[in-house]
Symmetry: C2
């Protein structure tokens, strides 16, 4: 399986992996990004040819190529080709009766846009500065404040939302010492509408903490059960919306937070 | 434009945005993730109906739905529909003569896989602990060590590579005081093969630093020119591969680093 693009090929890889998830085979995979020169295209078609000769079956090529001559040359190689964009672009053009931009004017890299760049960097910086309770300043600029016990998924979720959605995320952990008398910090009182809780099955939390600090009190089943029970009680008594992250990927947690809060992505 | 999925809809959004990049129109957009119940589907089809009545044109729906009855019901709404997966899945099945998995067994969330989860979290943690020269311990576990002046894109690139590629990234800044006598730290001597440089046009660096600390010495044109000249001289004299990040998105920088080093993504 080859992923080929005159850009990063990330869209090809992403779509290719979702498509692969629908089948039971696990192919060898190779990515050719930034195929913008004749030389690179020649190297690539050689590899496709070799793969075909070695295995006796045509490889699958998920691709996106803007320049028509390069595209035509690629399509001569012995492979099954899947253009991840072109058929949809053509259908959108037919359905809407709107012409697509001329091929060579198509913007392949939205992130070159300077505002987008600064928004993203600024969201990442804000989120890093507010990771794990390090700072509770400047909370009025936050889009969302995640609360949860240690290892419930706050840091990866915060960074994902900053990086991919352009949102400013604060996350604050409750530690073992807090558990006996769990309460909201006064800093959060004016930001109540931004609070969002992450919880997790105690068994899953124990597994994750054992993976980190095997045999510790922190990773014990009892400690995990107590912390989860206490934080869920707090979420309920304070009417803080929360979700259980146990079987969710970072993408799923982040999307569920958008869905529950009604927040919108700032970036795509 | 609606993005609809029984999963996160992130693939629909991503592909939809690349397709939109090929046209000149800017539609209103709304995402419906996790459409797994009749109720949600009813809400969604009502919104599609309302959009159609309000604007007098059919909205565009980029979607992915596994359950056949739900899919069929969605397709009755007045819209132009683009199934981001199904046509490619069908073509792959025809080309390879391999049957796709039964619809309801298809894994929609690869990240539920526990090893993948831990790999990703571990890469993020390692990278956070080694951001901005904070720690130079444990460098033998690094996949890559990024070097560059302040604001050349090291932190966002490092976090992106950890989050999306599962790689462990160290980044180390050179600060103004280093510039007069720039040299490699002894810690990096045994890791030479992992070193990778980021540079940037002095004008772009000035713009980025002005955005952060307007009017400072740090953001002055002279300072930026000196730092860039010094670090590029170091990269050349030490034979460290490097790229210019001035007009690149974080995705493009990260992909170019993979391409130049031959490193592979650990995660998709």
């Amino acid at each position: 399986m080859f992923y080929v693009s005159d850009g990063t090929a990330i869209t090809c890889e992403t779509l290719g992996h979702v498509v692969l998830g629908q089948f039971s085979f696990e192919p060898n995979e190779k990515t050719f990004p930034f195929v913008e020169s004749e030389d690179k295209l020649t190297d690539l078609t050689k590899e496709i040819q070799q793969s075909y000769e070695r295995h006796g079956v045509k490889p699958l090529v998920f691709f996106s190529m803007v320049i028509p001559t390069m595209r035509a040359q690629l399509l001569k190689a012995p492979a099954f080709f899947y253009d991840v964009l072109e058929s949809i672009v053509q259908r959108v053009a037919e359905d809407t009766q709107i012409e697509p931009k001329p091929k060579l004017q198509r913007s392949r890299s939205v992130s070159k846009d300077s505002d987008t760049y600064f928004d993203r960097i600024s969201a990442i910086e804000y989120t890093l500065a507010h990771d794990d309770g390090v700072s509770l300043k400047d909370l009025d600029r936050a889009d969302v404040i995640l609360l949860g016990v240690s290892r419930s998924g706050k840091t990866p979720t915060s960074l994902y939302m900053a990086m991919q959605f352009g949102l400013r995320v604060v996350n604050y952990p409750f530690i073992a010492d807090d558990i006996a008398s769990l309460r909201l910090l006064p800093e959060f009182e004016f930001q109540r509408h931004k609070l969002f809780g992450l919880t997790i099955e105690p068994e899953r939390l124990t597994q994750i903490r054992q993976n980190r600090l095997s045999g510790s009190e922190y990773a014990s089943s009892e400690q995990c059960q107590q912390e989860v029970a206490a934080i869920e009680a707090l979420f309920r008594s304070e009417a803080i919306p929360y979700i259980n992250t146990s079987s969710l990927s970072v993408e799923e947690i982040s999307t569920r937070i958008l869905e529950r809060t009604g927040m919108k992505r700032r970036l795509f």
